[in-house]
Amino acid sequence: MNPKYEPLFTPFKIGEVEIPNRIVQCSMGGTTLFGWLEPSHFDLEGADFLLKRAKDGVGLVLPGMQVIRDTMGRKWLDSNRQMYRVLKPYMEEYHKTGGKLFIQLAGGFGRSMAVTPWMAALARNDLLNKLASPVVDVQYACASASATPNRWADNLNSRPFTIEEIQEMVWHFGATAKKLREAGIDGVEIHAVHEGYNLDQFAIANMNFRTDQYGGSLENRLRFATEIVQEIHKQAGDDFPVSLRYSVRSCTKGWRKGAMPYEEFEEFGRDMEESKKAVKILQDAGYAFLNCDNGTYDAWYWAHPPQYMPDNCNLADVEEIRKYIDIPVACAGRMEPLKAAEEIAAGRLDAIAIARQNLVDEHWVTKIKEGREDEIRPCIRCHNGCFNFSKANGTENMQALGDSLHLARCALNPPTMQHNRYKIVPTKKPKKVAIIGGGVGGMECALVLKKRGHEPVIFEKEDKLGGLFLTASAMTFKENDKKLLQWYYNEISKAGVEVRFNTEVNDLGTIRRGFDEIIVCTGSVPRTMPQIKGFDKTHSFRELLREKSVEGDTIVFLGGGQSSCEAAYDLVLAGKHPIVVEYGNDLVAAQATCLANTSFLRDAMEYHQVPVYLHSTITEIGDGYCIIKTPDGSFRQECDAVINGIGFVPAPVGEKSAHVHRVGDCVAIGNLRTVVWRAWDVCMRI
């Protein structure tokens, strides 16, 4: 092991519980032991995943957040005796790894509840909500400190909790903690003064207008959180450690408005000055550990940083707050293990909290210990498989129901949280397989086939593997995408996959002989709109980003999807002046892309004053100009180039047949998740 990592592998204490190392797996919705939002039960898939993480060497695992009262069925978490009976032997098995496990308990979402259209309809109608309440009481699920606007649905306010409801909930936190302790759980974490969840809505002055003992002064606003820890100690014992998930700063400018990492702004939520006082109150109340980051649902990209956020984005704030308390502190948010080790060694931090890297590589801790860091598959923070809650202007949460039921899967690692569905089974009949196209889909196919015992050969028309992902990863802030490509190169080379570069295959007949199966992974080509006058003057993303052959300062994007907005942001960072023209009513209005990612891009466009024309299109492109048609009329825009951002169309080669398969964008335009998962779907059956 690189000795610089050694500080990560030293023990530390939370209360009286010794954690074997400084690596904390942050809670991720879906990786739960008791089910995600449905009636609580012992969740076998979650249990399998968490045990594997402990076996890899994570010191403290925090399973996905568990709401103290089930959203579906409304049962209290302490009421399912069978669940705790099954938990006990599981924890005995778990403790053989030497790792520790704290359950994260939450008081619900409040105004942050990611309501879908049908949930919003229930919440807006008292009678419907009452009728549905034995199954789901959306008004209760959205209840908050005060009547505040929902993050997801327009014209939907939370109803305030009654004092009786708060006190009932506080008691159940204690009762649940007691049962968890009896079942062998090492501690609990309260998902509280964090990320704009329910208890945070009590803590933030602009979200809490109460005049009773739970509103007003900072002490009153933190009363809910302090009563919880006191009740837990009362029922489960003073020595039962209670961690607190804590956002140091809200980084929020207003309802649904986040602040850029480099922005000076007036804080709408909790600022550093209030935070310094809050942590002292919370420590004095009995919390034994602070698991910190920044953000709220309104500034979601701080708590769930996409690739546009800087590495270690919350570290400075977390280290600052640590000066005001004596209990250990962990920091989450694009944390680099080496940087964390440095900070721990210097005494500025106690632990590193890592979330989604645990989904993408189930052996990353072992690989660090064994000095094989270059073998770690990096998380690219796409949130496509694990966390694709999505929203655009005027919509509620657009996430597909199948994804809502199965969070915390991984776009790049299909077996994560679905190990019975995606698995490597060695083949009994090894075959020679030709893979046409060496993009991510082709490389993933080759790796899966090789692991199963087949003999894949990749035919790549260029002198480099990567395909369309070479363009997608070319932007300055896509460092992890570049690392992912390098990871593929290393794995392909290590696996001994034969790659024939500079070999374009246009006719499958030429390679049919000599191969048992053919997989076509030829990707897509840009969509065209010849009806736009001068469309042939547009440039492609490849020319702009990879070849860097588009010159000039003012670049107009035809289409406001994710590719356009990312490229526009890249130009902004380079000091250029992009303009985005989008036909729809919002930027990046895609069902599969997480709000943490899309809201960053939208907020960034606004902050950098990028001209964005919605409900608009381009009607003519000429030399040095284009005509933009908006609802208010058309105008001539001087520009240096127009980028074709209206999308892509599949570009398969050859005809489909029994032994010819297709993977990736050449089937249908998707994202890395659809490419990688289909690669597995096809290659598991060859």
């Binding site: 449905e38 009636p39 039960h41 049962k75 005796r81 597909a400 199948g402 779907d681």
Partner: protein, 68 residues
């Protein structure tokens, strides 16, 4: 007696639904559907098949989880 029969039919339907829900998620079901429907069609509807499995199992899981 009639009510009992109705309850029995309902229970049988629920069990059959639960069984079907569990089955569609197995390797055997996947391979069967894959060979019956072909690669393209099966992979196009695969997520919906899994969702159907979830939804068929959901009522019984819901009731089971509500039991103490």
């Amino acid at each position: 007696m009639k009510k009992l029969k109705k309850l029995l039919v309902l229970a049988c339907l629920c069990c059959a639904g639960y069984g079907l829900g569990m089955w569609v998620k197995t390797d055997k079901a996947r391979d069967t559907l894959f060979s019956l429907l072909g690669e393209d069609l099966y992979l196009a509807i695969q997520d919906k098949v899994y969702l159907l499995g979830d939804l068929l199992m959901w009522p019984i899981d819901f009731v089971r989880a509500l039991l103490p």
